[in-house]
Subunit: 119 residues, 4 copies
């Protein structure tokens, strides 16, 4: 019986049926440092967007270097099927280095993650 | 016993203790039409942002003209207290006129709504 | 332009097309006092449960007597369309009297509320 | 840079600081078959429940045997810090065998998973 962490598809998947779904499901992450904040943009796609098949939500986490337990959930963003594109922009105050993780969920194709270092 | 709808503070509240909290709690809404989409920006503040007191989430609804029942929930956006600012940007496909509603929740000061027409 | 609070259907609606949807959409609430806790049960239905039409979520609020601002959001409960019934059970510590509110959302028939006193 | 799936603590963790937090953080899962439904109970604890430190939410997933992509998110359950215990009961229609996963989030101690077979 696999652990949940082992059935999350990742940006690195390169074989099996998931490989062909990678481009349309792995969340893209862009981080921009502004004065006091980071602007984090996360999105998925192009991906179908219908009631029967869409990216239902994205959740963003932060692994903070030096923190004893990780990660911190930064936010959850839910998108009405058929109407709203899987796109989120966060304005975040982070004072340490670490890793930004994004997790997206397609109701047909499961959980997909990606990550970028925050330096 | 008041109905839930009657205890949501609105952008119009002008008396009692809520009047003094209006500026910091009513969600601001900006709608911009792009080619195929509307970009809807919703945010609250300036407002304190600590674990003990923050804007926990914003939910966005659409009242579609001519639809028999309304509204449609477009999305829910949750913000980690102390770290993430109450700010959401939606990319939405809407084909009819109507009203965009935003509802924000402060764990100390309750539910606050605002609305703009979509024309 | 109506306020959001004015377009939430209530357990009292008795005319127009909403009256016919009342039985299947108004959240039912049951509160039971146990030693240190209240057990709050909230559910909706019988209601269709398909990907195209279902009760997507229920949110539960508490109006605490004597608190300057209300309500407090006690929890949000989301149900996978087609698979999970709109049913939630909460174990809650409440030390004052007040009102329990439930808000449910059907993607076709909008927002519905109900309330019971907590004594 | 570890993948997100690799930083989820599991019910099997047996060394390091996480081992000492296992009892209070791993979600417990109970599945009971009733006529047409499964009743799934998920809870965490005993665990502190304050605004500064609590189990913020539990999410339940289903790995369906024979489905090409997995898992399915069955529901998300959020608990107001300090007031609501991390406890969820789901009434679910499942027609295949598989695995029920629960994922819980403590704002101080991160993500924790557990799983039981559904037979
Ligand atoms: Fe997909
Ligand atoms: Fe406030
Ligand atoms: Fe309905
Ligand atoms: Fe903890």
């Amino acid at each position: 019986m696999k652990k949940l962490g082992e059935i999350i598809y990742t940006s690195d998947v390169s074989e099996g049926p998931a490989a062909g779904k990678r481009e349309s499901h792995v969340p893209k992450i862009e981080v921009k440092k502004e004065e006091d904040y980071y602007k984090i943009k996360v999105w998925v796609g192009p991906h179908p967007n219908t009631v029967e098949h869409s990216i239902r939500w994205i959740e963003v986490f932060f692994y903070e270097e030096g923190r004893q337990f990780n990660p911190i959930s930064l936010g959850r963003f839910e998108f009405e099927p058929g109407l709203v594109e899987p796109f989120a922009k966060l304005k975040v105050k982070l004072e340490k280095k670490g890793i930004i993780y994004a997790l997206s969920y397609c109701n047909i194709h499961g959980l997909w993650e990606n990550r970028v270092p925050l330096e």
